[in-house]
Amino acid sequence: MSLFDKFQPLSAAQSALSGTGPAAIATPIESVHSATRGSINGNEVILAGTNNYLGLTFDADVVDAAGAALRGLGSGTTGSRMANGSYDAHRALEQELAEAFGWPAAIVFSTGYQANLGALSTLVGRGEYLVLDSDSHASIYDGARLSHAETLRFRHNDPDNLDRRLARLGKDARRALIVVEGLYSMLGDQPPLEAFVEVKEKHGAWLLVDEAHSFGVFGNRGLGLTEACGLLDRVDFVVGTFSKSLAGLGGFCVSPHRQLDLMRLASRPYIFTASPSPATIAGTRKALQKLLGGQALRAQLHRNFQRFYAAAKELGYRLGSDIPGPVAAIILPDRETALAHWNGLLAAGVYANLMIPPATPSGLNLLRISLSAAHSDHDVDLLIAALTEMTVAA
């Protein structure tokens, strides 16, 4: 009897995916040369399995800002925001995020995962309710566990189903925090946000929108789906991450409620961890400037994903979303077919993501391709050609 026995089913699942080539899960990437190129198994590949939606990881200004902070302020803060880890730059970034939304309060967390963990576990507690979309990210479920609030789920992207669950709560719905995402990373689909807002208002509940995958992608200023839908004055909290469109590491929560600042006194994932390094904060601040004024980047990203979605549909693939977005999730009939597609694309010089149960909703086997503003028109041609080659071979 070993403490490790319980991991045997996971180990067996991992082994079932292993073949002669590189591992499809936690694929070793030997080096990264640019926002869209890297080396896997000795070969150069197009990176189409990252979350680098605006392609800012190699932006010269972002890299210079991070480098200058690294040299000027050191490699790390070595402490939490509550102790020695609150520098001027952390506060400045919070102010810049709050100003971007036109709201009074913002808090920076050390990772995107911790932003959800820190916000959800603190905003609600015993005697209160979290009402989650069933396809929510693990960080949302983990935040729920840490909160000790009663956690209910509603059917994915179904406002009527949410309405029924809130109705069951009666007047307690006023102590319920609803959580939806601006873009669901597995299927690449978006919520009917306005309908959710209407249900929230009908019951007097609260609404948090996790814009981890939609920040930088949607909205005139890139603030996410909430901005794109014209709903910034009707939601209570927006959570986001620095590790996707902002090309860094960290997360944030912003709110029109000034009292959000009180969360700093009680949020364990905020208090009991080291704050982001000076280089991370400096790079993120520069990337945020580029994101807010990045209409050209967004235009290129949208052009890329519109083209890829159209091509994939023309090839007869079923996609996880009818509305094109930066994540194209190709639904394949079984694990073997999905793995064959993943290997086929890699052989053609394209790195994508293989997603399989139980990480996926409804037991789906997915080949997930992420588009970036840094992909050139020619890159998208190559991605489409590689997928076409796979289709012909199948």
């Binding site: 069933s134 729920a144 956690t151 037991g363």
Partner: protein
């Protein structure tokens, strides 16, 4: 002593489980109420949560996610549903 009221709630709970399980696993034969949800029935964690969501709609009640962690068998699930229905009434 058996209360007819509770027996009815138990029956409703079992019926809701049967309907939901029939949709999740159409090839499933007779239900073994002592079967472990993950091992014997063969559901993964996501499938269990989806099964419970079907049951919630069938019985028009909400099962808190944290309650699921304590439920190992179909019998325990039926018992919990029975209590939730009783609380509601």
């Amino acid at each position: 002593m058996e209360y007819p009221f509770l027996t009815d709630l138990r029956k409703q709970s079992e019926q809701a489980i049967q309907v939901a399980l029939g949709r999740a696993l159409p090839e499933q034969g007779d239900i073994d109420w002592q079967a472990a949800l993950t091992g014997d029935v063969g559901l993964d964690s996501v499938q269990i949560m989806n099964l419970v969501m079907e049951i919630e709609d069938e019985l028009d009640l909400s099962v808190p996610v944290e309650m699921l962690a304590e439920i190992q068998t179909l019998d325990q699930l039926a018992e919990r549903l029975c209590h939730l229905q009783k609380e509601r009434s």
